[in-house]
């Protein structure tokens, strides 16, 4: 996907005010200088089958995703969101109302609101049920990128890994284990704000481990920052049910998506302080320090399993259950 974006959408020159963080940065959002502040903006389209899954729905996902993308740029107080919905002819009205209620409730949770939107209907068979696009804007004094890591920096994850990906996958494969799983889809701007307030200078990188999971997020951070990252597998929080289902399906939980978590790169002296603050927040109780940046093997992520070491592979395409 990153290759596709690079090869198609990054072609052709654009003139932007100096200092703008634009498309070519391939960060979670863009940042434009406005006076002594930054205006951060982001947009994302959401498709998921099925639209309702354990722990969430497409509406909750669409709001959380955009609020979190803003937060990953350091902008934790979203001014407002937009919401565009494309519906397949025949989509159930009660489902639509349920999604709308979820969008509303999630906005309240994040302390923001939808201020403009658009609705289109397409003919049956032209899309799979429903597609939602949201965009968001927020102001911040300081932009946090995904590329500020140096050797010695610590890596924190704000909670258990793989919850969303495995919840959806277990639900889709009708494994009869639904009760054991719940997606983590949630706006985490308040959690990120708490972390940034306690270490405004020392938090040097933020990334949400959505598609491609922790592995993709770490690879992108390592590559853009020019450091290697060594992760201690035993320190990564993973729910027992997620671990078990991932073994059954042959899917690495570190490749599975999260929709309510952040990966935080922090200077070593502030790591414990940030961790303590995160653990006091409602969504950060399972936060953990999981790794360290090194100068060797820039761009690579090494997983120390306790038995040995291996390179963490960057997942490509859709996650597929394995036969062996």
């Amino acid at each position: 996907m990153r290759d596709l974006i690079r090869d198609v959408f990054l072609q052709g020159e654009q003139t932007l005010p100096e200092g703008t963080i634009g498309l070519d940065a391939m960060d979670d959002g863009a940042a434009l200088r406005v006076g002594d502040e930054w205006l951060v903006m982001t947009t994302d389209s959401y498709v998921i089958s099925p639209p309702f899954f354990p722990g969430g729905d497409i509406g909750r996902l669409a709001v959380s995703g955009t609020v979190n993308d803003l937060a990953m740029m350091g902008a934790t107080q979203p001014l407002a969101l937009t919401c565009a919905v494309i519906i397949e002819e025949g989509f159930s009205r009660s489902d639509l109302e349920r999604i709308q209620r979820s969008i509303h409730a999630t906005c309240r949770e994040a302390g923001t609101a939808i201020v403009t939107g658009d609705t289109k209907v397409m003919r049956r068979g032209e899309l799979d049920g429903i597609v939602i696009n949201t965009a968001g804007v927020a102001l911040t004094k300081r932009v946090v990128r995904d590329q500020g890591l140096q050797s010695g920096d610590r890596i924190i994850v704000t909670g258990t890994m793989g919850d969303h990906g495995l919840a959806v996958m277990a639900f889709r494969n009708a494994m009869g284990l639904e009760g054991a799983f719940s997606s983590d889809a949630a706006p985490i701007n308040a959690l990120v704000r708490a972390a940034l307030e306690c270490a405004p200078e020392e938090i040097v990188a933020l990334k949400d481990p959505t598609r491609g999971g922790l592995s993709s997020a770490l690879h992108e951070m390592a590559e853009k920052s020019g450091v290697g990252i060594v992760i201690q597998e035993h320190d990564i929080p993973i729910r027992d049910a997620v671990r078990a289902a991932s073994e059954l399906l042959g899917i690495d939980p570190l490749h599975a998506a999260n929709e309510g978590k952040a990966v935080i790169g922090v200077r070593p002296e502030a790591a414990e302080r940030v961790l303590a603050v995160l653990r006091r927040t409602a969504l950060g109780a399972d936060a953990a320090i999981v790794g360290t940046c090194v100068s060797e093997r820039p761009g690579y992520v090494v997983l120390d399993t306790g038995f040995g070491r291996r390179l963490l592979i960057e997942p490509e395409g859709e996650l597929l259950p394995r036969i062996c």
Partner: protein, 382 residues
């Protein structure tokens, strides 16, 4: 299987994931290997699950330098031959609903993969197993085919489902393979460096460890059956290298908690009542006598090959030159050749366009060389 007498014993049986113990065992493995006094000592495992576990836990980083643990033809997806993928592709292209294991999706046929045909609108669904495929077939009137790949382990599941009865619109395209014959092929390769085999515990749970006894005797090679936890693999390798060192061509069962000498009789009966072994090519390796499992005549009605006309030539007439004939996967697996000795490596064969099994598999020798530039030093302990 042994009955566990108390909780302590249960605990002892479950402790196969202790890093401290693994370090001690890695040291023992190094000691035993070095006591042979020459290098490399080359052994082969023939199981995708072993390779996954070795890779998953980073065990290669703790194997001694003098020990070469070679990935054999043990990944069923990788050894599924091009024509077999082509058959599934053609079925999907002619409107049949094809169910497949996820990792078969991107394996290239002569012109396209199942993923390609899906992108073009073909009905290809990833399933977790044949049970799920049958369930989905019950919900539709469409003709449904399960693309059945895998070794003895998954073939038994296919057999059991067929014996239990399947809906009328359901049939099976068998690409199932049988491991014991290919071990003979590897052992017979001229100049082979393989000195012993690590056999797969789950396959042996069905076939029984005795199946390897004749092989060990005939080829004068030790075989160790083992499981899939890090300590299982280390224990299996220690035993195997000991047998190599002592020149003992024996079968050892290091997985007694699951594997018996005679195996699972009802499963064997189900397997052989549904399937018969025939010879066939394994991708990039060789023609393997009795290496492929096909449905017996009495199950012709659920055999996709007999139910549909699958004209491979319509695909092959448009296909580019068949590169697999230049592929030297077999030699690479036998430890005779290195990937760089292959004329296809890195130009016509790469991870995006794999030709042979060693490049298809994420843990295949060629794929690893291509991605990491040969042997990978991760500085364990640094």
């Amino acid at each position: 299987m042994n009955v566990l007498r108390n909780r302590d014993e249960l605990g002892a049986h479950l402790r196969f994931q202790e890093p401290g113990k693994a370090r001690e065992m890695a040291a023992t493995l190094a000691h035993v290997t070095r006591s042979i006094g020459r290098e490399p000592v080359s052994v082969m495992h023939v199981c995708g699950s072993h390779e996954q576990a070795i890779a998953r836990y980073g065990l290669r980083a703790v194997f001694p330098r003098e020990l070469d643990v070679i990935m054999g033809p043990g990944c069923p997806v990788c050894v599924t031959d091009v024509p077999e993928v082509d058959e599934a592709v053609l079925l999907a292209a002619q409107g049949v609903r094809v169910f497949t294991y996820g990792d078969m999706l991107r394996v290239p046929g002569s012109v396209k993969s199942l993923a390609d045909v899906k992108a073009e609108g073909g009905k290809v669904d990833v399933v977790y197993g044949i049970g799920q495929a049958v369930q989905l077939a019950c919900e539709t009137q469409e003709e449904c085919v399960f693309f059945a790949s895998g070794f003895e382990t998954t073939a038994v599941a296919t057999a059991a489902v067929i014996l239990a009865g399947v809906p009328e619109n359901f049939s099976v395209l068998s690409a199932h393979k049988y491991i014991p014959p290919v071990m003979e092929i590897v052992a017979e390769m001229p100049q082979t460096r393989i000195e012993g085999f690590l056999a797969a515990g789950h396959a042996a749970a069905i076939t029984g460890s005795a199946i390897f006894e004749r092989f060990a005797e005939r080829y004068k090679l030790p075989v160790v059956v083992t499981g899939f936890e890090p300590l299982d693999i280390l224990a299996g390798l220690i035993r195997l290298v000991e047998l190599v060192r002592d020149g003992r061509a024996e079968v050892a069962n290091m997985y007694p908690r699951c594997v018996t000498r005679e195996g699972n009789r009802p499963a064997q009966e189900a397997l052989w009542s549904v399937f018969r072994p025939i010879g066939g090519r394994w991708r990039g390796i060789a023609h393997v006598p009795n290496g492929n499992l096909r449905l017996r005549d009495r199950f012709a009605h659920v055999d996709a090959r007999r139910r549909f006309t699958i004209d491979l030539h319509q695909l092959w007439d448009r296909a580019p030159a068949n590169l697999t004939q230049h592929c030297i996967c077999g030699d690479i697996m036998a430890g005779i050749a290195a990937p760089t000795g292959c004329s296809l490596y890195g130009n016509q064969c790469d991870p995006d366009h794999p030709v042979g099994a060693c490049m298809v598999s994420s843990e295949g020798t060629c794929r690893i060389w291509h991605q990491y530039g040969g042997h990978l030093d991760l500085g364990y302990g640094s």
